[in-house]
Assembly symmetry: C2
Homo-oligomer: 440 residues x 2
Amino acid sequence: MAEPLRIALAGLGTVGAGVIRLLETNAALIARRAGRPLQIVAISARDRSKNRGVDLSPYAWEDDMVILGERDDVDVVVELVGGSDGPALACARTTIEAGKALVTANKAMIAHHGLELAAKAESAKVALKFEAAVAGGIPVIKGLREGAAANAIERVYGILNGTCNFILSQMEDTGRDFADVLAEAQARGYAEADPTFDVEGIDAAHKLSILAAIAFGARIDFAGVDTAGISRLRAADIEQADSLGYVIRLIGMAEPDHSGAQPCLFQRVQPHLVPFNHPLAHVDGATNAVVAEGNFSGRLLFQGAGAGDGPTASAVVADLIDIARGQLTGGEIGAPFSVPVAELEAMGRAATGHRTGRAYVRFSVADRPGVLAEITAAMRDAGVSIESLIQKGRAESEGEVLVAMVTHEGPESAVTEALRLLEGSPSLTSAPLVMQILGD
Amino acid sequence: MAEPLRIALAGLGTVGAGVIRLLETNAALIARRAGRPLQIVAISARDRSKNRGVDLSPYAWEDDMVILGERDDVDVVVELVGGSDGPALACARTTIEAGKALVTANKAMIAHHGLELAAKAESAKVALKFEAAVAGGIPVIKGLREGAAANAIERVYGILNGTCNFILSQMEDTGRDFADVLAEAQARGYAEADPTFDVEGIDAAHKLSILAAIAFGARIDFAGVDTAGISRLRAADIEQADSLGYVIRLIGMAEPDHSGAQPCLFQRVQPHLVPFNHPLAHVDGATNAVVAEGNFSGRLLFQGAGAGDGPTASAVVADLIDIARGQLTGGEIGAPFSVPVAELEAMGRAATGHRTGRAYVRFSVADRPGVLAEITAAMRDAGVSIESLIQKGRAESEGEVLVAMVTHEGPESAVTEALRLLEGSPSLTSAPLVMQILGD
């Protein structure tokens, strides 16, 4: 058998420990599949003494993870530290500059610095791989970059954040409110102490921007993602969506927009109403799912565990096996974003006004006569046609009621205009909530 | 840009024409992704004069497809002729022996001769790829072989035949009987004039045996697949399954069996009852879906179009892009079945008797007193515990009624024994139908 692939591990949190456990548990079959053993030689983390439930004694320790890639006995560094900048980025840069391959699960770093790192990797002719950065254990980066490589991708969308999906599923099952379910998720370790990145859609936006770059040959534009989270959702929204035949899911969606002179990129993370008969409506708990629509393949769906140490380790080690197989004969791994960074297109942010669709709009209003007339008049004046309207009797708080409606198919700009007309109205007790309805 | 990858196409049916259309339509983006153009140089088919809706004049014509791989101007041959033996196999052998890569969509040939061809390809150090042979446009071979490569796969199962799934969905939607729906599917071109391969489960068994080899590192054992089709299903079965909370799907399932001294391989294609809340219950029409359960990844689901010229061409060209990317720098493609043929394990056929589960058993019986008592006595004597029983009043034909039951969890061997006890009973008007119930 050929020489082992020698691995250095930066970061020994739950995923790092998972990678060690996986490489131990499945060592024999991985060596058969990769054509050679995968062997950890060096490790680094912030705290050397912490008990991680795995034996670290066989591995060389480095206090400074940044220099792991400079060790002569290392072929590839696995970065599992996290954070878009700081030690993770420094470690990634030194590794590639030292001519070593880099595998990372760091979505924030790739969303912010992926193009710089990929350009460096292409010029150094080393692999940069990040399957674990998007949708945990699901091989969706590979699915898009290789499996669907023959297609012009027309749209990519999916459920990209397991924490949000877990919270939404729980709200659905229990009828409880967001804050309540979040608190429980935090207590049980399913959500971070500071849940902002997850519940405000930022984590999903990181992942979406990476998928969009690969799918559309576009330069990553994380700042161009129109991002909203799930923290404003109420139990009543879930209930009303259900009565109309929908579940609510946080959907990240990207598609190219060819309506102008220059192709633009539409990227949005937003809770959507998903019809019961759509495959994504059946994605529950911490599961993730990604749909890619190709011009020849049609709709491809990839689904699986979106987080957790086992699934994430599975994706990290799949990248390592790819590298081991390729480097066996000096083969190249190819451009990290499918086409070389220099050929990725800088696509402007698509205007959303001309997009059409059906929307769910929910108002919190003062419980007094005339409010409904005021809202429906604004809708009429803005040209929004209302398909159905539900006025909930139950007061959410003293003197407040919820009014929810579903619009007919129409331009998003009309709904925006209606809300503008209502801005500042004393009838509204808080800002309205708009969610798009996912088409078939 | 690097030299083109030069392709010869053997077989110009709908998929062959689809490959030509795809390579024309998406030429620019494919060249960007592959790092070089993909260029068809030569073609061959049975009938040169037939109009296929694509312009064949740019390509050299060979009357004999077997020698395509021997042409100096060809790097890779795409075999789309079909049939397990004959010209397809001859073409595959000569191509690999000539040191050229082979891409094929031919599940029958891979199921029967895949090991021989893979051994030849490994020794010639050329690529043998067959993504399109399983589940059409879904990159599930890649998903298993590479995406899930870090995992011991514990089970692989799914909906592998689009024709059967289309027929079952139609039966569900219309309440019509099998023969009736099949006839319509044939008239509309969704089913072959001779539908045996599809409706009797043989096509699904071909695909399952290929997936099992990759998932479990086993030598392909098509003959070891326990195969049943959907032709004995009646509208009443669909209706009764529905009333119990299930849909019926033709499921191919494989898993290793470690209960004996030597590991064995369980492979079965059979209609199953699938609970409404299972992801596979929502796979309708000609869609395919494959679930792989890894020891670290957990459950992965791959879903998409299982047939059709566009999706199949998408898979064929994905293989070509892989080859173009790899051969760019002399990289190897790796073992076609993930581990080298010489290391694949010859696993015996698993005995099914000790398997446990819940089953649906349907009897066609004479409409006279005592029959139900006779059946339930046999069940009792064989140790089968009945969870629910439906006796349909409606006579399917004169003097015949259907009795369907669902058993409690128990050994499959007990059900087999009960049916043996009833064998030859004049009460039964035809052989009973047994379907397993898919667990969560």
